[in-house]
């Protein structure tokens, strides 16, 4: 076993197990998606190169345990021929996770799977001061837990009360989960407190008269979240980005900021706590200015 660079193997998604000469191989999946042929290939790979076992990870991934070092090259070639790569570990951008989003889920506010593919193609495996996780939730229900990621994206709808046709029924006040819709004198809405709004759009959906309308629909970015030993939730950036290309640009800028400001083995959230989230907002300034 001498001569094996375990750190380099780990960077390439191959982790040493307790048992001598057995490795856990992490696969590269985007948004937990693979087709039937690939699923069969993964099962076959586990049987041919491992012990037949598979492990589903907490981030929509698959790992094949019990692979001997002598089988790693053959396993990689077998999977590559079927369009499946090895994952990554260490201080890099990890595989992007996402819910099904708009087009599949009736609650979806934004499209998520194509966005996950774009972000993964652009950033997967890119170096960073520490691990960097990206997750996308298609709506405020937040099934993919945007705030748990170094950079999370969440589908977001903010209301505007037009007043036109409002009957004062008060349903917008009733359904708002955070009481962001303030009561007016006539029982209807008196205004919307943007800082309390969680972008669910329930007030718009519930409004019988159509007087509560969309002010903006798009992607809200959360930065600095993580779990692990000292969990902390990501905080929202001010802007709501209306186009997916803006999200890709924002991720590029956030990563650049992290590389400039982050210390080795410091998570993005810790960097932001040290230098201030305002510094990131300034770094993103030009981009944020273009959005709602």
């Amino acid at each position: 076993m001498s001569g094996i660079d375990y750190r380099e193997l780990k960077r390439g998604g191959v982790m040493r197990q307790e048992r001598e000469d057995r490795f856990l191989v992490r696969l590269h999946l985007v948004a937990g998606t693979l087709d039937g042929a690939q699923a069969r290939a993964v099962a076959e790979a586990a049987e041919r190169f491992g012990s037949g076992a598979l492990h589903l990870t907490s981030r929509q991934g698959i790992e094949i345990p019990d692979v001997p070092s002598g089988a790693l090259v053959a396993l990689k070639a077998f999977l590559a021929a079927r369009g499946i790569g090895f994952g990554v570990c260490g201080p890099t951008v990890r595989g992007v996770v996402a819910c099904q989003g708009r087009g599949v889920c009736p609650n979806g506010v934004i499209e998520t799977l194509n966005l996950a593919g774009d972000l993964d193609r652009t950033f997967f495996g890119a170096p960073a001061p520490h691990k960097f996780k990206i997750g996308i939730s298609g709506c405020a229900n937040n099934c993919l837990k945007a705030e748990e990621n170094d950079l999370g994206v969440k589908g977001w709808v903010e209301p505007r009360w037009s007043g036109e046709g409002c009957t004062g029924c008060g349903l917008c006040l009733t359904v708002c989960p955070t009481k962001a819709v303030r009561a007016g004198a006539d029982g209807g809405p008196g205004g919307i407190e943007r800082a309390r709004c969680i972008g669910c759009g329930d007030c718009i959906t519930a409004c019988p008269s159509g007087s509560m309308v969309e002010r903006v629909r798009g992607h809200r970015i959360f930065v600095g979240g993580k779990l692990g030993r000292a969990p902390s939730l990501g905080r929202p950036l001010a802007a709501v980005l209306t186009r997916p290309e803006e999200v890709t640009a924002a991720v590029a800028e956030a990563l650049e900021f992290f590389r400039l400001q982050g210390k080795p083995r410091e998570r993005f959230g810790d960097t932001l706590r040290r230098v201030g989230i305002e510094a990131l907002e300034v770094h993103l300034g030009a981009l944020q200015g273009k959005s709602a």
Binding site: P106, G170, P208
Partner: protein, 85 residues
């Protein structure tokens, strides 16, 4: 006379399923009264709008809500949220 659908004792997805069946039988001139809990409001109103109908009035009945639905005139919902979320 309005048809009354009481879904106060149902949970999603039965709430939207029962309302969907009632809406399907509404025709082009009918009216429907839906008695429901606060938790079902958003999804049920989304379903009403999505099928092109209109919530003409909203009432309260004890701890429940009563929606008066009129066939047509809704034009479809811009942002339906019909899932159980």
């Amino acid at each position: 006379m309005s048809v009354l659908v009481d879904i106060t004792r149902d949970a999603c997805p039965m709430t939207t399923a029962k309302v969907g069946m009632a809406l399907a039988g509404l025709g082009s001139t009918g009216t429907l009264e839906i008695r429901l809990t606060q938790g079902a409001l958003t999804n049920v109103i989304a379903a009403v709008k999505a099928q092109g109908h209109r919530v003409a009035a909203v009432g309260r009945d004890g701890g429940h809500f009563v929606l008066q639905v009129t066939a047509g005139g809704g034009g479809g919902a811009a942002a339906p949220a019909a899932g159980c979320g």
